[in-house]
């Protein structure tokens, strides 16, 4: 039995700040299989991006991996050398960021930025790299790529810029792409197009995808599995269909109830009461307890991740009182 493409175990990523240690990622365990699309969902500040940066070794100081393990194709990445990580980045694991206005260097031409990404991993001539760059733009649906290669980022629309970033991420057909809210800054139609194409391209090349978003509706339309993150911890994991049909964690339930499309017309959207906790001052025990309607004395300790009974598909939840289907029909 081969190990999944990516296995994260008990990852802790900390920021030592003047106010204290921020545990941005606080014991995360995840797996991603080859070709799988995993949605990583949670409110802003829950630690999604930092999880992504930890995998790629892209943490800016004072961020550091305090403990845990990240195994990619069986290789341990925590503690790997800078040079090893650099060779991995863009080649085996690629990343796309949220703001397409900011991810391309404003003073370098598009061809420069694509060609450097090719040549850093493959010893090919400038001419061959140029041809590959044009082909890469064509793949992501950018018209007249030869001309567009000579343009600067500001001459592209937001959607087109994100396509360029996607083209760059897919240059070397990586085994894994981490997409950090890549459509959040775009308008809805373009968002849908890009999600569709990204899914298609990854399926073609067998690329696994970690799609980070705060919007569960997006995962509903594309993911295989979902991991819900709250205050630096994964609180629920499972197949997208199962989790959305029957959320077990009160927080997941709150997220689903606040998605507009899932509510009947005229019905008020249910908002999760309260605010996301400050990462410097997490509540004792389950970090969700001040906002949770099911909280009781047991929730003063941190719940472990447990398999939800009678569930297959690796359905796990971190809660003392998971919501069960039966319970829902009663209430």
């Amino acid at each position: 039995m081969t190990e999944p493409l990516l296995v994260i175990r008990d990852l802790e990523t900390h920021f030592d700040t003047r106010q204290g240690t921020v545990k941005a990622v606080n014991g995360v365990s995840l797996e991603v299989s080859r070709g799988e699309v995993l949605g990583l969902v949670g409110e802003s500040g829950s630690g999604k991006s930092i999880t992504g940066f930890s995998i790629l070794g892209l943490l800016d100081p004072p961020g550091r991996i305090a403990s845990g393990s990240i195994r990619f194709k069986g290789e341990e990445l925590v503690g790997a050398s800078q040079e090893r990580m650099r060779r991995l980045r863009g080649k085996d694991i690629a990343m796309i960021f949220q703001d397409p206005m900011m991810t391309l260097n404003p003073v370098l031409r598009i061809d420069t930025q694509i060609i450097e990404a090719i040549q850093v991993h493959d010893k090919v001539s400038h001419k061959a790299a140029h041809a590959r760059a044009a082909e890469a733009l064509r793949r992501v649906g950018i018209p007249s790529p030869e001309e567009r290669l000579k343009a600067y980022p500001h001459q592209f629309s937001g959607g087109m810029r994100q396509r360029v970033a996607i083209a760059i991420a897919l240059l070397h057909s990586p085994a894994l792409v981490i997409a950090d809210e890549p459509t959040t800054a775009l308008d809805v139609t373009i968002q849908a197009q890009i999600i569709h194409e990204m899914q298609k391209l990854c399926a073609e090349s067998g690329t696994a995808l970690i799609w980070i978003t705060h919007d569960l509706a997006v995962i509903d339309s594309m993911g295989d599995r979902v991991a819900v993150m709250y205050a630096g911890r994964i609180v629920e994991t499972g197949a997208v269909r199962d989790v959305i049909a029957a959320p077990a964690h009160p927080y997941t339930r709150g997220l689903i109830d606040s998605v507009p499309s899932r509510n009947h017309r005229g019905q008020r959207l249910a908002q999760i009461p309260g605010m996301a906790p400050s990462p410097l001052n997490l509540p004792q025990g389950c970090a969700f307890n001040p906002r949770c309607t099911f909280a009781d004395a047991a929730c003063q300790v941190v719940p472990d991740e447990t398999d939800l009974d009678n569930e297959r598909n690796g359905r796990r939840v971190r809660c003392f009182h998971p919501i069960r289907l039966a319970q829902e029909t009663v209430s």
């Binding site: 800016d60 650099r86 060779r87 960021f97 900011m102 260097n105 404003p106 370098l108 031409r109 990404a117």
Partner: protein
């Protein structure tokens, strides 16, 4: 592009006109050059003759009219003191000042940018502390004091470098310059370092701040995510971004180096324009002062123009007014 340049040059004519009026009126108000030019025992009729021959008996507006009439023909008046055309006098001193300013700027850029990069990439490190503290000293110690210290250490104590005058000059491409001889270079070094120190501090500050501002940006992270090596990220991605403010400041500072090297030129007896202007002000040699300020203004205008043109090549988002339409 051409339209842009022509438009800018026309604008500069207006600026020159305004400067000439301000300077002319200002100097008129400062004092009477005749008192300084004539010997103390000159009698009244000698005074009158001198005043008339310098054209100082006419009303201010007429004097300015005459000046302007000649100026458009390229004649900016004749020095009261040397009795040669003031523009000729200034141009004869210009190479000395230009080579001093250029040399200072090259020192500031070649040392300041790498140090600024180093400090900015390792904020809080020992190297950063040393470099930043050094730049504060460069900023805050007065230039004349730095000059005197340089003379004391390198000329008086160590006896390594001369501290006085321009030394032997040679000609390169028909221009008389200190770069041509070893002796000339030795003479150039101390005044150039003196002029460079402040600019060096400024380059360090500017580069360090630029690096600190640029490194956390997403495009740097994205470049890393592509696997681009750290040296290339710094030298291509980051440096190209911070070059825009750096080039602006180099331009402005080069102008001010050329225009205001007076203190250094005085300390090191450097026979440039700065020393000339100080002497001319002391003697109230109006035509030279006016001509000097007009030449300096023109120089600022030209440097600004070059900076704007460089801008457009460094930052593709900048569109020159009058070009894009």
């Amino acid at each position: 592009m051409l339209v842009f340049i022509i438009r800018r040059l026309l604008q500069s004519m207006l600026v020159l006109l305004a400067v000439s009026i301000v300077v002319f009126v200002g100097l008129y108000a400062v004092g009477d050059p005749v008192d300084i030019l004539l010997p103390d025992d000159a009698n009244q009729s000698e005074r009158q003759a001198a005043i008339r021959s310098l054209g100082l008996d006419k009303p201010l507006i007429t004097q300015y009219g005459i000046f302007l009439g000649k100026a458009v023909q390229g004649d900016l008046g004749t020095s009261f003191v040397f009795n040669i055309p003031s523009i000729e006098l200034i141009l004869s001193r210009m190479p000395a000042t230009l080579e001093l300013a250029l040399c200072a700027m090259v020192i500031a850029v070649l040392i300041g940018i790498p140090l600024g990069l180093w400090a900015g990439l390792k904020p809080g490190s020992a190297a950063d502390e040393v470099i930043t503290t050094g730049s504060i000293l460069g900023f805050s110690l007065p230039g004349f004091w730095q000059g005197l210290m340089l003379i004391m250490i390198f000329s008086v104590w160590l006896g390594w470098l001369p501290s006085n005058g321009r030394g032997t000059t040679g000609t390169i491409f028909g221009i008389e310059t200190s770069f041509a001889t070893w002796d000339g270079l030795r003479h150039l070094l101390l005044p150039a370092i003196n002029l460079a120190l402040f600019k060096l501090a400024m380059m360090i500050r500017l580069t360090r701040a630029g690096v600190r501002e640029t490194m956390p940006l997403d495009f740097v992270k994205f470049a890393r995510a592509k696997g681009v090596s750290e040296p290339r990220i710094v030298l291509v991605h980051v440096l190209k971004n911070i070059l825009v403010p750096i080039v602006t400041v180099i331009g402005m500072e080069l102008g001010s180096l050329i225009a205001f090297s007076t203190v250094t030129e005085t300390i090191f007896a450097w026979p440039g324009m700065g020393k000339l202007i100080i002497d001319s002000i002391n003697k109230l040699d109006r035509p030279v002062v006016v001509a000097y300020l007009l030449v300096v203004t023109m120089m600022f205008i030209l440097i600004n123009l070059v900076v704007d043109l460089l801008y457009a090549t460094l930052d593709p988002r900048v569109r020159l007014k009058g070009v894009s339409e």
